[in-house]
């Protein structure tokens, strides 16, 4: 048991070069490939999802290049179909869905709970390798005939096209297992491995968001699994369940698909909201406003989100009654999201806001997710949707939600936890510039798409009428700007690994337990018990000039020290 010296704030600050951290305590490829350490698995997920992001982003650039002019610009129509399908499939299944839970979540979740690891470390490793296998399979379609169905794989086209849908279906099935394992792991960890005294109301909101996400993952993913399996047997054996020629119902596929894929939007957005709760509270230096409302709204979204899938099918011959109910529920699911937004804004009110890069991302999240959410209400309206269905308005809407929301929050979270993960500070100035570039570029890309969509530009089209040229060109310029910003980010993050300033344990003054361990953390996360303070109890922290970071106030550390001695 460490003796607690009240004059020395706990935990002891170690320099980043200390050999006893999770990155350096073991070496070699095998020490990573077979690691059971949630932090290393998180880093492997991070590297893999970023690779998928690079690929998906490149495909986006190809799409925007092709659409610079009407007609053929750089590729033919069939290639274009393949490119936009893979863009969607890669970014959704390999990046957006796993990135925050499996990369950031894996890294910080056990530490936020004061635990040594997730409940099932071997299953965690298995989930990573399943993800890697699924990713290779999904990329395998590039070599086996491509994929031109769009990421939604609608029947009957997907059961009749001769592109490599079968392999893609197996890939999605396999990837789903990786998600399920992560979900099972997180739910169990949150239930069973919390630090002593850490009650449910003392959990960081990121944990609540991960919990709600995991619930969706374990309940929705298997339905997608069985759906893609049915398409697979449909293609290989002609089972006929979705084939109208054999009396099957292709619309049933849409029901199944959206039963997963609408909740999947929340698999992507809920963890993002969790990150935003942490960022906004930390960088406003104010306890989060409406803790219970934010935590509860995560669960509300997870539950209501299961009953709105029909809003994707207003034009699929669904009955008006069903459409009306789904429309109503779609409005209902917007309420908990709005509750969160109001609480975040209220948190910032009279806070002492610091505009570091993570906070810039958090603010852009509010803007982008706000627009994405509000335009979702347009589409949730039966009458308006008939006009906007399958136009660029839809494309813009879900990019605002999924890219503007999830990607902005991921980037914010990445910058926030980067010092914790790698023990180095990045170039803050460049990071702010890049964050602004992403924000401007993104809006440039997608805002005009709302206009093009209302004027009738259909999505997924290779060609367009000349009057849409200006919208497409503005959009492409925005996309290139955003793409450039990502290379700036890549540049300064890589530089920071080589010669960044060593990071203190708590550079931002965040109060959740993960900031009480060293940066980068010890292989077992904590060398001494973390001092249990509230996740937003910023008054327990103070700035230490010598360390260049925040430390626990001596009286708080001492309070915990007495507690520990009493326990021992």
């Amino acid at each position: 048991m460490t003796t607690v010296d009240a004059s020395l704030p706990q935990p002891v600050q170690r320099p980043a070069s200390d050999s006893e951290n999770y990155l350096t305590h073991a070496h070699g490829f095998l020490s990573w490939a077979f690691t059971l350490d949630h932090k290393r698995i998180g880093v492997m997920y991070l590297a893999s999802t970023l690779a998928a992001f690079l690929l998906g982003g490149m495909l986006a650039m190809l799409i925007r290049t092709e659409l610079l002019t009407p007609g053929q610009t750089v590729m033919d129509a069939d290639t274009y179909n393949n490119v936009f399908t893979l863009h969607g499939a890669v970014l959704i299944f390999l990046f957006l869905i796993p990135v925050i839970p499996a990369a950031l979540g894996n890294f910080v979740l056990p530490m936020m709970l004061g635990a040594k690891d997730v409940a099932f470390p071997r299953m965690n490793l298995l989930s990573y390798w399943i993800y890697a296998t699924g990713a290779i399979m999904l990329l395998g379609v590039l070599l086996t005939g491509g994929l031109d169905t769009g990421w939604t794989f609608y029947t009957p086209y997907s059961t009749t096209t001769n592109t490599s849908v079968g392999l893609a279906m197996l890939a999605v099935f396999v990837l789903g297992f990786g998600n399920i394992f992560t979900g099972v792991n997180f739910i169990t960890t949150i239930h069973k491995l919390r630090a002593p005294g850490q009650t449910w109301s003392k959990l960081p909101l990121f944990i609540w968001a991960q919990y709600a996400t995991s619930v969706i993952q374990i309940l929705a993913t298997p339905v997608l699994g069985i759906t893609v399996l049915l398409i697979f047997v449909e293609r290989t054996m002609g089972i006929g369940i979705f084939d109208p020629n054999l009396g099957g119902d292709p619309v049933l596929f849409q029901h199944f698909f959206w039963f997963y894929s609408h909740p999947a939007v929340y698999i992507m957005v809920l963890p993002a909201m969790g990150v935003i709760s942490e960022l906004i509270a930390t960088f406003s230096r104010k306890p989060i406003f409406g803790y219970k409302a934010i935590a509860g709204s995560s669960l509300a979204i997870a539950i209501i989100g299961f009953f709105v899938w029909g809003h994707h099918m207003f034009t699929s011959g669904q009955s008006t009654l069903a459409g009306t109910i789904f429309s109503f529920l779609t409005y209902a699911v917007a309420i908990p999201s709005a509750i969160k937004v109001f609480n975040w804004v209220a948190t910032m009110y009279k806070g002492s806001i610091r505009l570091d890069a993570p906070m810039i991302y958090a603010l852009s999240f509010l803007w982008l997710f706000g627009i994405g959410g509000l335009t979702g209400l347009f589409l949730g309206n039966l009458g308006v949707d008939l006009h906007l269905h399958d136009t660029y308005f839809v494309v813009a809407h879900f990019h605002y939600v999924m890219v503007g929301g999830t990607l902005a929050a991921f980037l914010g979270g990445l910058h926030f936890w980067w010092p914790k993960m790698f023990g180095r500070m990045y170039n803050e100035k460049l990071a702010r510039v890049a964050a602004l570039m992403v924000f401007v570029g993104f809006n440039l890309t997608f805002f005009v798409q709302f206009i093009a969509g209302t004027k009738g530009m259909p999505r997924r089209y290779f060609n367009y009428l000349p009057e849409f040229t200006i919208y497409h060109q503005i959009s492409s310029i925005g996309a290139f700007l955003t793409g450039l910003a990502f290379f700036v980010i890549l540049y300064y993050l890589v530089v920071s690994l080589i010669k960044g300033r060593p990071a203190p344990a708590n550079p931002w003054g965040a109060a959740s337990l993960d900031w009480q361990t060293t940066s980068p953390p010890h292989p077992h996360n904590f060398t001494s018990d973390p001092v249990l303070i509230g996740p937003y109890e910023y008054s327990a922290l103070m700035w230490n000039e010598e360390i260049g970071g925040y430390v626990l106030r001596p009286e708080v550390a001492a309070r915990a020290g007495h507690g520990q001695e009493a326990q021992a």
């Binding site: 048991m1 409940a119 699994g225 069985i226 006929g240 369940i241 199944f256 001494s528 326990q567």
Partner: protein
């Protein structure tokens, strides 16, 4: 509980080789394992949930298909399989109890019997599949029409009537071959009334000669017009029903094979898990202080059993 490198937990870990380092106490490890399994079972239920949903949709849309197709399922074999699985669930539960009480030999015996039950289930399933395969009672494109009653010669349907096998072999009335042009079957006046651009789907004309029409006949004739026919003998009745084959019977068999196939896959996985636990209990890993894997595998096996308990009546006992 202490999350640091305190003295007490280390003692624990030395005493208990099965205690993984990230858990503080064996209780925490046991509870986590069990909780995780329950969460995973929720996933499994939703996996089958999609198929149950497809079943419900198609049964609602095509009730006649389900009634007809269930004539070909063997209730006796299905019933035996249900019993086998229920018994194996019982032996599994007894095995868990034996592990908790440290009765190693009983545990090994119970796990072996459970394993045997799983194998027996798969064996019977194989017999059923083989019958269906030979009779062409298959999915989608592989389905062969049963209207000529050839399934009866393969011993299907088992329970309904081996007596039906007395089928005299005389050629059943050929279903009228679909005319190359459906228009040809119509009376000239009716055909002429339709502009040539209106397509008539194949098989959508009813009756022939002067009575041919695009309108299907009424499902039930008007009552009171003729005397009811005397009820035919049971075997004949069955034959007659089999000849009246509705469209798209293969939909039922598609669902049947996907559901039972996925279930069989779960039986195989469950047997592999039981085999693993059996191997470990032969090694003497389990006792009153540590029986988590037995317990968790038991949970999984009960779920496999439970899913079959829903599948059996839904597929076999439709009438």
């Amino acid at each position: 509980m202490n999350h640091g490198a305190g003295a007490a937990p280390e003692l624990h870990h030395e005493e208990r080789p099965e205690l993984q380092p990230h858990f503080e106490t064996p209780e925490q490890q046991f509870e986590s394992g069990k909780f995780g399994m329950w969460v995973f079972l929720a996933t499994e239920i939703l996996l089958f949930g999609g198929l149950f949903c497809a079943y419900a949709v198609y049964r609602a849309l095509h009730p006649e298909v389900f009634v007809y197709a269930s004539l070909f399922l063997d209730r006796v074999l299905g019933g035996i399989n249900t019993l086998v699985l229920i018994c194996s669930s019982l032996t599994m539960a007894l095995g868990v109890r034996a592990a908790q009480l440290g009765q190693r030999r009983l545990l090994i015996a119970m796990l072996s019997v459970t394993l045997l039950g799983g194998a027996g289930f798969l064996g019977i399933k194989y017999v059923e599949y083989e019958h269906k395969w030979k009779a062409g009672l298959l999915w989608g494109t592989q389905y062969r029409s049963q209207a000529d009653g050839h399934a009866l010669e393969h011993g299907e349907p088992g329970t309904h009537g081996t007596d039906a096998a007395s089928h005299d072999g005389s050629a059943p009335p050929e279903p009228p071959a679909p005319a190359a042009d459906p228009r040809a079957a119509l009376p000239p006046a009716a055909a002429a009334a339709l502009p040539p651009s209106v397509p008539i789907p194949e098989g959508r004309t009813f009756g022939d000669g002067e009575n041919a029409s695009l309108l299907p006949p009424a499902a039930i004739g008007p009552t009171g017009m003729r005397a009811p026919e005397p009820p035919p003998a049971a075997g004949e009745q069955l034959e007659r029903r089999i000849r009246h084959e509705p469209r798209n019977v293969h939909l039922f068999f598609g669902i049947y094979f996907v559901m039972t196939g996925l279930h069989a896959l779960h039986v195989i996985v469950g047997m592999a898990l039981i085999g693993y636990v059996l191997f470990r209990s032969l090694r003497g890993d389990f006792g009153p202080r540590y029986f988590t894997p037995v317990d968790i595998v038991g949970l999984y096996w009960h779920l496999v059993d439970l899913i079959w308990i829903f599948l059996f009546p839904l597929l076999y006992l439709i009438e």
